[in-house]
Symmetry: C2
Subunit: 151 residues, 2 copies
């Protein structure tokens, strides 16, 4: 496992790139009336319904106290439904309305269209495919694989 060729640290490339991508998304999100967290909520809820707010928060890497205003707003605007669970009335069952799903789709389409432009403009097709595959692999690793490691 000798030295590979000289390169910047992974985090030193990835973190600023992430910041730049996020900054580039913001105007699109704003145009659709969404904050970053609101968009994260819509994305997550579209995958499958979530049983509780705490579970939703955890699954998008947020604090449960932080998404409450987000949920209030989305609910008030008719993008999200929040009903008490009849089985356990402490729990709120969350789901997207058709309008919420439309907003999600329109927003994601705009964002990914822009991303695809970026990728096709700067990466040759095979490299692009490898990049996306590798990125997906790394992004879905359990935190333990990245975090703790006995050297």
């Amino acid at each position: 496992m000798a030295a590979e060729q000289r390169r910047p640290d992974l985090a030193a490339m990835i973190v600023p790139l992430g910041r730049a991508l996020m900054a580039a998304e913001l105007p699109i999100l704003r145009a659709h009336g969404l904050t970053m967290w609101a968009y994260a909520v819509l994305l997550r809820l579209d995958e499958d319904p979530v049983r509780s707010q705490a579970a939703l928060a955890e699954s998008i890497g947020a604090d449960k106290t932080r998404i409450i205003d987000v949920l209030n707003d989305l609910e008030a605007r008719g993008l999200l439904l929040r009903r008490p669970d009849p089985a356990d009335r402490r729990v709120r069952l969350l789901s997207l309305t058709p309008e919420g799903r439309r907003t999600r789709d329109a927003t994601q389409t705009a964002i990914q269209s822009r991303e695809n432009h970026l990728l096709t403009r700067h990466l040759p097709a095979p490299q692009r495919a490898a990049f996306l595959t590798a990125l997906h692999t790394l992004a879905t690793l359990p935190p333990s694989e990245l975090g703790s490691q006995e050297e």
Copy 2:
């Protein structure tokens, strides 16, 4: 430019991955007595000497007011030299001491060794190479390429 295959948003993969990588670096940095910003300073100064603190801050994406304590600490520990520019005594000329360079090297070696383990463990060699190349390409794009874009 039709739809590519379904995938998560780039930022949705990259940002959390960056956070995880950074979290994984923290214990290593701590072991070498560095904060993240201190490490960023050492990396930047090792490339080439910087003429002013403001320029340094800007070039690592920090605010000039935020790196002052970092510079104070590095200087007090003998990792960094800060001298008034004889030509313009408002300016502080910054450079690493040999000890600063040693700390930088030891820290980066530890960090990249860990990263290389991670990459070799999860990505086949050709994909790994493509990933690093693509990442480097995207990370070195001017902000305008990522930020503003006429659709």
